[in-house]
């Protein structure tokens, strides 16, 4: 039996839309928007001025502290403006706006090539930070931070997340099929940085061919054969979540509120290691990423290598958006965020752009019934929470009780509960609000969420 975890759900996969589309390069948009805060941590600091000419790959903003990464110019062009621009949350976020030169050959600035084997772990961490590398799995957490675990918590096992459990998304799948060598190179670099003893690549069993490609690549690589193995996982959402993956692969649980390093593992997305394997030896920065564009709202779905900062508007037009399109979603359908403003750019954390039609998307204005305690959510929650009770508490504004008695803060918002709920209760949305309210420490008085 394939490795797995308990609970979880099986939404329709819908990967066939883009699975067989190989990675294609995207053209440059008329302007690119580089948010200085597109990773977790402190925003980068701009080091260019308005009107300045920049070359593709050139550093345009530098890291501001350890938990921060630099930005590189995704195109050769001119800095139009440095100003706040809209981000996902509808907030204004400081950004650099670049206008690519239409006539430029768009060669990437040649970096200082390095031989990874010759670097010390500290140097690798430094180099990864210089690349502007963040986790491409969605959270956009600066990779070099993850590569420097606390001294007292050494990482033995590197887990490479090739699960790609979100429906629709196929970018990691294409990366595995097309970039096996880069991946192995990246794994070696990361293992060295971590001092890890072994690597497990976890891949869901709906992508057996990708697993085979990796296995083949490993079998011809003398060093990899010894410490890298590929494990096939049951196809189940959210198999790709860090917590589920460690449970499935090494049968250990990341402690509540703790880090993977607490149990001696580190989880990294497959595309992350692939980019490291490719860019680090060349001394180049992260300026583009593979993004799945899918959904019935576009006529040319596929997996595209898109320069950072490309505005959604441009992405959509280029992917052949049709008039049935209604929802534009950053990420997969389970955890992705709706975009309200099409000026918003592709960021490092965007693994997919879903353009869904009204029929494809969960029905609009669904009738919400009271919780009928069917227990579906309880049996879906991969973290063994009780979403039913949490939902009822949320309706009664018992936020403190949710956190204290029902582990609200362990919820990683996977959405499984909401997906299955026959009463159409927007559970995760309740939980997000509750978490936010608690985070902000608001001492709110009675106010019914239900309205």
């Amino acid at each position: 039996m394939a490795n797995s975890f308990k609970h979880g759900i099986h939404p329709p996969e819908k990967k066939e839309i883009s699975a067989d589309k190989s990675i294609k390069r995207f053209p440059f948009a008329p302007y690119l928007v580089i948010h200085l805060a597109q990773h977790i941590g402190k925003p980068a600091k701009a080091i260019v001025k308005e009107g300045q000419e920049v070359q593709r790959g050139q550093k345009i903003a530098e890291a501001d502290g350890f938990v921060s990464v630099p930005m590189h110019s995704p195109a050769t062009g001119v800095i139009k403006k440095i100003a706040p621009m809209l981000d996902f949350d509808g907030k204004m976020s400081p950004s650099i706006i670049i206008e690519p030169h239409p006539g430029s050959d768009q060669n990437v600035l040649v970096g200082r090539e390095v031989e990874p084997d010759s670097l010390t772990p500290e140097e690798i961490v430094k180099a990864v930070q210089e690349m502007g590398m963040v986790g491409l799995g969605g959270a956009a957490f600066p990779s070099h931070v993850k590569f420097s675990p606390p001294k007292d918590k050494p990482v033995q096992t590197l887990i490479i997340n090739g699960a790609e459990c979100e429906p629709y998304l196929t970018s990691d799948y294409r990366v595995m099929l097309e970039q096996a060598k880069r991946i192995l190179r990246g794994i070696k670099i990361v293992m060295k940085a971590l001092g890890a003893k072994e690597t497990i690549i976890g891949i869901e069993d709906n992508k057996k061919d990708a697993a085979q490609v990796l296995k083949d690549a490993i079998s011809v690589d003398d060093s990899a054969v010894k410490y890298v193995k590929v494990e096939v996982l049951k196809t189940k959402y959210p198999q790709g979540a860090e917590k589920m993956l460690t449970k499935a692969l090494v049968n250990k649980e990341i402690p509540s509120g703790g880090l993977p390093a607490d149990i001696g593992v580190m989880v990294s997305n497959i595309a992350t290691v692939s980019e490291i394997g490719e860019l680090l030896p060349k001394g180049q920065g992260l300026i583009e990423r593979v993004v799945t564009i899918s959904g019935k709202g576009v006529d040319n779905p596929g997996n595209y290598l898109i320069p950072m900062g490309t505005p959604l508007e441009f992405v959509l037009k280029h992917a052949g958006v049709n008039e049935k399109a209604r929802h534009v979603i950053f990420g997969g359908p389970m955890m992705g965020k709706s975009a309200a403003y099409l000026e918003m750019p592709i960021t490092k954390g965007a693994s997919g752009i879903l353009v869904m039609t009204e029929e494809e998307h969960a029905p609009k204005k669904q009738k919400v019934y009271p919780c009928i305690r069917c227990g579906e959510c309880v049996n879906a929650c991969p973290l063994f929470l009780n979403p039913s009770r949490l939902g009822i508490l949320a309706r009664n504004d018992e936020f403190d009780k949710m956190a204290e008695d029902y582990n609200l803060n362990d919820c990683f918002e996977c959405g499984s509960c909401t997906y299955v709920c026959p009463s159409n209760i927007p559970l995760v949305q309740y939980f997000r609000v509750a978490k936010k309210v608690l985070r902000e420490g608001r001492q709110r008085k009675q106010q019914s969420i239900a309205g």
């Binding site: 329709p12 399109a325 359908p333």
Partner: protein
Amino acid sequence: MDSKFLKIDISSSPHVKRPVDVKKIMRNVVFALLPVSAFAVYAFGISALTLIVTTTFFSVVTEYVIDLIEKKESTVGDYSAVITGLLLGLTLPPGFPIWMAALGGIVSIALGKYLFGGLGFNVYNPALVGRGFLQAAFPVSISTWHPSFQADRFTSFFSSNLAFPFAKPTVDSVSGATPLAAFKFEQKSTEVANLIFGQTDGSLGETGGLLILLCGMYLAVRKMLDWRIPAGIFAAVILLSVIFNLINPEKYPSAMFMLFSGGLMIGAVFMATDMVTSPVTSLGTWLYAIMIGILIYVIRVWGGLPEGVMFAILLGNSLAPIFNILTKPRVYGTKKAGAK
């Protein structure tokens, strides 16, 4: 920056949804109950038809009226009141006075459901609250049985059906005895095959155990019913029956007899499984089911009354919140169950 070429909708994730909702589940349960009701009509004739229609009608109307009074959006459309009405009807004896059945329908919804805030909040199974009320209010009528498959069942009512509202029903001379009462009070056993195929006396919906089982399986396969509950109840009853039957077959009936007699089948398949009133955790569900099974056995075998399914399920409902608390699963990454 013109980006207004798309009409955009935004919503919170997840953006996909399992295509099942309460209404669909409830509708399927109604579908599953229709064959059972049809068999009841086949076995008991127009009395059965009238009773089932009466309870359903009064349940639905009560729900409608209370929504009106409470100035809430009508919830009749979710079919749950129909289920309550159907199930209440199916638990009544064939000769039950129609006016009492109507009262039962009203009590089920008003006392059993709306008192607690309506769908999803009732802690007791509404249909059984209705039946419990009727059983305690009119114990004679509800334990007066008429034989099934009477020749004139499609043309005439049992005379007690037609009692004038609030008046005493006439006593029929032809009253029969349920298999359980026959066993308990007269030490008469009933052929198990007759039980399975509904050739016995009893409440409208409790004869014909096999049909109920099949309808339940349909729901279980469609994942609209928690299979653990009937499984747990059956397991507990079978285990106890087998043990005691081995000790003294005279006094303790066989497992098959226990399973297919009385309201066990319809109770285990359709009533204990009411999701609103059963626990949500899977371990809790098992405990709940096994406890109901044990109580059914204990009440039937050692208690004063011949049948205990209704009481057992109501007692199970009482304890459901406590089972939920006791069986709170250990949250991922925490040490103890529910630890912070």
